[in-house]
Subunit: 468 residues, 2 copies
């Protein structure tokens, strides 16, 4: 047995016996080398061996940590809405009231914390645009948006392998407006729209406001959209549009594979279903590998893509976009008669920022932080939450989806957490009929610190009390 | 006869004989005094006398000018849409394409030119907010909007005699989003909505996009909304909501009197019609006297008021608001699921600006400029346009409404002007069925200069050619 294998074996035993707890820091390389009378290289090899076995995890500049026994992913359940129905979600007033509070630990918000975003570079771009041309910054933008920014967005699509023409790009007030405009353009009241379950509640509320009916197709943690089920649903129902989040579903963080994406596109094209792709998390692959948007394989001109800078640069600038395909003219009209145009200064400043900075470098750092946060959340849940709590295995994005053990109520936990000034998103929001009562969504967008660690412990105690 | 009366008489004769043309500058006080051997005080009195008679008009720092024979106001015509119907306006693609062009003299845009707005003070406020708290400027705003700005808006309502609670104020992406949210909140597809004729085409397009039907009530130049006709229409039809612009209708610039406003409110309350008030021009009374919004007399809690900073401070910041009355919670929900929240930085900067500056002082200057522009436009039209051209008599706002002589076609003039790089708004846009083919709207928001003078002359020639 080699020296490093012997050292790895000793550490493995300590972990198995609980002498080293889940989430605990392993001794440093120097401590291991000195303590066991081996070279630093041998200590490093031992740690790498544990990492290969899934027992330890490396954190940049912090060393190695004992990996927690991962919670199981949430249980699969039958999609409830297999015939078209209306969205009948519970009241959201508590949730909206929560968004107006500034005294909460914002674990409810699927947004990166300000510290993870390039605020000083963006501030410099905003100030530069004001100095350079205040009139342009304060005057109306064209309804379709400022050309400089639209050009940057078209270039980005080219980089990630999707050919989107400059003429197709329409600037919007975030992806939420983009989805709204797309639905308003391709549907009429009473039409049926396919959505994932679980899915972002904003999509469901938009569908409800437009008097559309929904069908739900399951999205599974670690697998993404169930495209076999999708084909069945489209065969049995006339579905006008599908609003899907193949790249890191919110709340699950699951990635739909390239093969499944192409199957989805073919099914939708065959059945006359327009695809509205919400790709706001596509840049946030925790692996570092940016998955392609559906547009890459769109042979039928059947996809409207929605994107945003809210999840990667600045949520408060409210700048998103559409790649409008054959519907571009109608979408620009809808935009004009919805909000006239998006604010000028944020558009000009984002264009300036993107011209001057290596966005990929920022994204690399952001993805690493999110992946690290996700791992730490997993560990904290394994350590502090009731046994049997399940957690999604996000491949990207900004959120973690939890399922409490049998009898658990996410609404009770939401209210109890709010009383302790911790914001969470109750699971009932994420389906058309308030399913997922036992679930909860947490943000991965907060940098790990003492306060967050304490909050996860506190949430674990509240979760235990939220089980009947 | 007193000396000044004799001098006034001589000038009157010169005007009548055409020795002094409409729009021409009178000799200066010094020239008059020297030329006629009278004192400066006598010359001033003579000019004041001509002003009282409506023959001359004073312009700040420029002296006295011969008042043009005012064009007659547009002819009254029967309101076409007296039974509920759908909006069937002509295609707008040309108009939208025009908005994206930066090479036009923007006589199409009912917006003050940048030179009329306090750009340096606003730029300073934007820069100050960035320096002071970049995180707040870049992060999400609460869905209802930033408190500091909502407080300023509530204070303004108190100043103008309308009691609006702070809790009712919802920040929107301009008044266009406000009207959208209000209609989406109080109507369902198929409902009937009352609008003015003529009225802003954005209102008509929003109504069309929401699949609502319209009834039209006439608005008359110099008189405003015909409230007798409105009562008849409400008696005969179930009307869910009325979208009205009592303070300076766009395009006419007419003011509905206080008595008529109260009659309108009583009619609507009696018939269960929600009033959506678009008050974006209320601060732009050319007389200087700010008319009250409908909210002042709203005894039934039946009015949703919409406002904006686009027409008085900065169109490109895209900040407007709603005073939501009993519908506030539903409106905040609709806002959240439409655009999540408005951009933060513009809200914070406007609050900072309003705290630091005397807005009333800016408005006084702006109103004077607009009134002066309106007068000069009138004169230019009297001088250069085909005889029989009619023009509205705006009491406020940013636009002038023109009716060509019989056989005239506003669409032909619009296209011909566009070819000469002059933007105008064709009359067909301003009714639900493309009436007002012979009409055109011009902006009063451009400061008078040589270029504008030439453009008005050029438009007059094109107008002559646009008559069959």
């Amino acid at each position: 047995m080699l020296l490093y294998e012997r050292l790895a074996g000793e550490l493995r035993k300590q972990i198995a016996q609980g002498a080293l707890h889940a989430g605990e820091r392993l001794p440093s390389i120097r401590q291991l080398a000195n303590g066991h009378g081996v070279s630093a290289a041998t200590a490093v090899q031992a740690c790498l061996q544990l990492e290969r076995e899934g027992l330890a995890v490396a954190r940049p500049r912090s060393g190695y940590f004992v990996r927690a026994t991962a919670p199981q992913p949430p249980a699969t359940r039958p999609a409830r809405r297999s015939v078209p129905g209306t969205v009948s979600n519970p009241a959201l007033q508590d949730v909206l009231d929560m968004l107006a509070r500034s005294d909460l630990l914002p674990l409810h918000s699927a947004t990166p914390a300000p510290a993870l975003l390039p605020q000083s570079a963006l501030t410099a771009s905003l100030a530069r645009c004001l100095r350079h041309d205040a009139s342009a910054a304060l005057d109306y933008a064209p309804p379709q948006g400022h050309l400089a920014l639209r050009r940057q967005i078209a270039q980005r699509y080219a980089q990630i392998g999707a050919g989107v023409a400059l003429d197709e790009i329409v600037i919007t007030a975030g992806a939420m407006e983009a989805i709204n405009l797309a639905l308003r353009t391709v549907t009429a009241p009473g039409d049926v729209v396919l959505v994932e379950t679980p899915t972002y509640h904003g999509i469901l509320q938009t569908v409800a406001a437009l008097q559309l009916k929904v069908l739900e197709v399951p999205n599974l943690s670690g697998q993404g959209i169930d495209v076999v089920r999708l084909e069945q649903l489209l065969q049995r129902n006339a579905v006008r549009a599908a609003v899907v989040v193949p790249n890191f579903n919110n709340p699950l963080g699951s990635l739909t594979s390239d093969v499944a994406k192409q199957a989805l596109l073919e099914s939708c094209a065959r059945h006359g279903t327009v695809v509205i792709e919400d790709d706001i998390y596509g840049d946030l692959a925790w692996s570092g590998q940016r998955p392609s948007p559906l547009r890459r394989w769109d042979r039928h001109g059947n996809v409207i893509s929605c994107g945003s800078f809210s999840k990667t640069l600045a949520p408060g600038l409210r700048v998103g976009w559409l790649a409008g395909n054959q519907w571009t003219d109608a979408l620009v009209r809808a935009k004009y008669f919805s909000t006239v145009g998006s604010a000028s200064l944020p558009q000009l400043a984002l264009a300036d920022y993107l011209q001057r900075h290596d966005q990929e470098r920022h994204l690399r750092r952001l993805r690493r932080m999110l992946a690290d946060n996700g791992q730490r959340l997993h560990e904290a849940i394994a350590r502090h939450w009731p046994a049997g709590t399940r957690a999604s295995e996000p491949q990207g994005g900004l959120s973690l989806w939890l399922q409490l053990p049998p009898g658990g109520d996410g609404r009770v936990l939401f209210e109890a957490a709010l009383a302790k000034r911790i914001g969470t998103s109750p699971g009932v929001l994420f389906s058309s009929r308030g399913d997922y009562v036992d679930c909860l969504r947490l943000s991965c967008g907060l940098p790990w610190d003492e306060r967050l660690d304490r909050a996860l412990k506190q949430l674990g105690q509240l979760a235990a009390a939220a089980i009947r």
